[in-house]
């Protein structure tokens, strides 16, 4: 059972899931999707800054204190707003941005009696649990770097293409063809619809020029699909989200620097999707080599102007920045993946057994798999989705709309049916 913070009390000092934060202790075998809930909460935590009108009538008007809140609430719970109206039977004024120079926060214990605003969290939780989460992850890298194994290890189930295709042959394909496999995994009542997009053939040929183009095309196609759905007159309640939320790029553990193909790929895709680079098969590097390698990679990334997730510009406040800085100091994570278990000191651990020792995958002294998993699933999963929706998708949308305006044509016939298709209106909705 999650303990929900009552509204009005101080915010927790750090986001749950971070190293100092209090992460509910789960058995190691848990994939811990329930942690995702914590990442959804932030927007609701800020709801605690709601102002309550001093002249209390039967109407309780809930007005957000700052304008950015509106964005978050709309994104997460556009459905919830309608529900709330229906349940209370009370007319609620529409949410509108107020200027920030309004009265201070009235703490919960100052209210006359218990209002029940915090019940919103409960409702939201129930709704999202029923609806489930969607997450699309793309893995890119040369063949044999352990992409499928890592994905299986991350989600503790056989979700990769290798495990799902019968008669799987490890052949190097001549062109890059993307394949996506969809799974629904469930944990503690939380359902996640996970899509893994694999890119076999990337970087395997002798001439790898433009091998990133099919991938760029795919990412943009997903944005286009979503854009078109959004502009329908009769929109679905929940637009199926096939946009790529995260792209994990596998670097071979050479110990030297980024290769030209890595630079080219990350330059092109860093603008349209959140890239998380990882060092694959890192059990071939000693600790010193690993540190040096990472440093050189970070230098190369900076020198080439490549921005990987978490990007500095999208840190929202100081708290985020501190947390993300810690992560940025450690990327790319050096990971080792496996699905075999061995006995170490009487415990069963995931690891690779060699003649000189057992490499424990979840031991932070051995490799950084646990850090990657925490980043991707336990702490930043929702953030990845938000960044994709609010930033990458918006950039794409603006570009497309500008293009269509420049062409003098509407985006499609659908937009005209909308009647008053006004670009500003559409943007303000979002």
């Amino acid at each position: 059972m999650l303990t929900l913070q009552p509204i009005g009390q101080t915010k927790p000092k750090s986001m749950p899931g971070s190293k100092q934060g209090h992460l509910p202790h789960l058995p190691q075998s848990a994939c811990d999707l329930s942690g995702v809930w914590h990442t959804v909460c932030p927007c609701l935590r800020k709801l605690s800054a709601f102002e309550v009108n001093s002249d209390l009538t039967t109407n309780v008007s809930i007005k957000p204190l700052t304008s950015d809140l509106q964005l978050e609430v709309e994104v997460e719970a556009s459905v919830q707003m309608e529900e709330r109206e229906g349940e209370d039977g009370v007319e609620q004024p529409p949410l509108c941005p107020i200027d920030p120079n309004t009265q201070g926060i009235i703490k919960g214990r100052d209210l006359f009696g218990y209002v029940g605003i915090e019940a919103v969290l409960d409702q939201m939780r129930r709704k999202t649990m029923k609806a489930g989460f969607e997450f699309n992850i793309m893995v890119v890298g040369q063949s044999g770097l352990g992409k499928s194994t890592l994905v299986n290890t991350l989600f503790k189930s056989k979700v990769s293409r290798k495990s799902c295709t019968p008669n799987y042959e490890e052949k190097i394909s001549k062109t890059v063809n993307l394949q996506s496999i969809c799974h629904v995994i469930e944990e503690k009542g939380v359902k996640m619809k996970l899509t893994v997009i694999d890119t076999p053939g990337f970087g395997d040929q002798i001439n790898n020029e433009n091998c990133w183009e099919p991938i760029v095309k795919y990412v943009n196609e997903q944005y286009e699909k979503y854009l078109r759905e959004e502009q329908h007159v009769n929109r679905k309640r929940r637009i199926p989200d096939t946009r790529v939320h995260c792209c994990v790029y596998f670097l071979p553990a050479t110990g030297h620097r980024l290769r030209p193909i890595d630079v080219e790929f990350m330059k092109r895709l860093g603008h349209i999707v959140s890239i998380v680079p990882v060092i694959a098969k890192a059990d071939t590097l000693t600790m010193e080599e690993r540190l040096e390698f990472k440093q050189r990679i970070r230098q190369d990334l900076e020198a080439n102007g490549i921005r990987v997730y978490p990007q500095k510009e999208y840190d929202e406040d100081a708290e985020d920045r501190i947390l993300n800085d810690k992560i940025r100091e450690n990327i790319p994570f050096a990971v080792v993946g496996t699905d075999k278990e061995h006995q170490v000191n009487g415990n069963k651990v995931l690891g690779r057994k060699t003649k000189w020792g057992i490499i424990e995958v979840e031991n932070v002294a051995h490799c950084e798999f646990a850090n990657l998993r925490d980043l991707l699933i336990r702490s930043h999963l929702q953030d990845l989705k938000d960044v994709t929706h609010n930033i990458h998708y918006e950039t794409y949308r603006v570009r497309r709309l500008n293009e269509s305006n420049a062409n003098g044509l509407g985006l499609s016939a659908l937009s005209l049916e909308n009647g008053t298709f006004d670009k500003n209106e559409a943007e303000s909705q979002l």
Binding site: Q142, S143, G144, A253, T284, T286, Q299, K355, W356, G357
Partner: protein, 364 residues
């Protein structure tokens, strides 16, 4: 092994004993005096541990001041050929070792024909030797021909990649190719076996001719035969190199220190480094040189001559049964120099002879 001869002298057979059984000893002594030379080519993508392995094999530090190019510089990098020569002496035997390195191989985005500079280099060495051999003065021919090529296969893949296959196809007729699985500490024993099987399978499938160990003579003892068999079965060798010395089991060994254990380079259960070293240096070095001279060089020479004869017949010149080799006519300057040096050498030899005679007379 072959130089140890124990000849049995049986009493009563002295009259029939000629004594040429000591020839191998004489050859041995002469070659020790002369010293050996060996040229080794290392090829493979950057970051696979080539330099480290070469250092570990020959216990040298050839790449002390190496500067790694950053990604920007590497985008426009082409394949280079660099040579390092080092003189090693051990127990009175001198080895002049030349390592030919190929930085830039396989690193670019477009690696089409990235092996061309390497094949060109090998051909150049053959050509130079051919000219020297056909020249007038053959006393001091320098043998720069590549005797062995170590090709590094990354352990990350599932066997041979397209670039590996193309490279080996291009080089297998020109040089002895020894494929190695690099950074072998990346694979568990089970994965290693699978990888080796895959590589062997694909080598057969694509018809790649890699260096085969000669079968040992039938009169060798059983233990040697067993060793030989094991050697052949464990190809391609999975190697690890290290420039650092660590402490393991109370000894100081070359190895790599990880949080989960220590990998010893010279431990045969950890990797095949010892087998490679034995094969390359201790047992098969001479065989590699022989095959280079007898097979690869001869192939090149035959091709060359064929090309020349076909050109001659095309030009409708006088058809002579013996093809006229277009000798590289050295210019007048170098001819003079050669004559001068010859004179000097002859004079010095005469002086030496005189001195020897004098010493001989004094002794008497």
């Amino acid at each position: 092994r072959g130089s140890e001869i124990c000849f049995k002298t049986q009493p009563g057979h002295d009259k029939e004993y000629v004594g040429f059984a000591t020839l191998p000893n004489q050859v041995h002594r002469k070659s020790v005096k002369k010293g050996f030379d060996f040229t080794l080519l290392v090829a493979g993508e950057s970051g696979l541990g080539k330099s480290t392995l070469v250092n570990s094999l020959f216990l040298t530090d050839l790449h002390k001041d190496r500067k790694l190019l950053n990604a920007e510089e590497r985008i426009n990098q082409t394949v280079e050929i660099t040579k390092h020569t080092v003189d090693i002496e051990e127990k009175g035997v001198k080895l002049k070792l030349t390592i030919v390195d190929t930085p830039g191989f396989g690193d670019a985005v477009n690696n089409t024909e990235c092996w061309k500079p390497i094949t060109d280099y090998i051909d150049q060495q053959f050509e130079q030797y051919f000219r020297d051999e056909s020249g007038l003065n053959r006393k001091n021919i320098q043998d720069n021909r590549v005797h062995c090529c170590l090709y590094f296969i990354p352990p990350f893949g599932h066997g041979l990649r397209p670039v590996d296959v193309q490279f080996m196809k291009a080089l297998m007729e020109k040089v002895n190719v020894v494929p190695l699985i690099s950074k072998a500490d990346c694979l568990t024993p089970g994965e290693m076996k699978k990888m080796k099987d895959r590589v062997r399978e694909e080598t057969d499938k694509y018809g790649l001719k890699v260096y085969q160990f000669p079968d040992c003579d039938s009169d060798e003892d059983e233990e040697f035969k067993q060793q030989d068999r094991e050697l052949k079965e464990s190809t391609p060798f999975a190697v690890i190199g290290s420039n650092t010395v660590v402490e393991a089991r109370g000894q100081r060994v070359r190895g790599r220190l990880y949080p989960w254990g220590i990998v010893e380079v010279e431990n045969p259960s950890h990797c095949d480094f010892v087998k490679l070293r034995n094969m390359l240096i201790r047992t098969h070095m001479h065989d590699l040189k022989d095959i280079t001279c007898d097979v690869h060089y001869e192939n090149y020479r035959a091709q060359c001559i064929q090309q020349m004869t076909s050109k001659l017949t095309q030009d409708n010149r006088v058809e002579s049964p013996i093809p006229i080799l277009p000798l590289s006519t050295p210019d007048v300057e170098t001819e003079k120099l050669i004559k001068m040096k010859d004179e000097e050498l002859r004079r010095m030899q005469e002086m030496l002879q005189k001195m020897q005679q004098q010493m001989h007379e004094q002794d008497l």
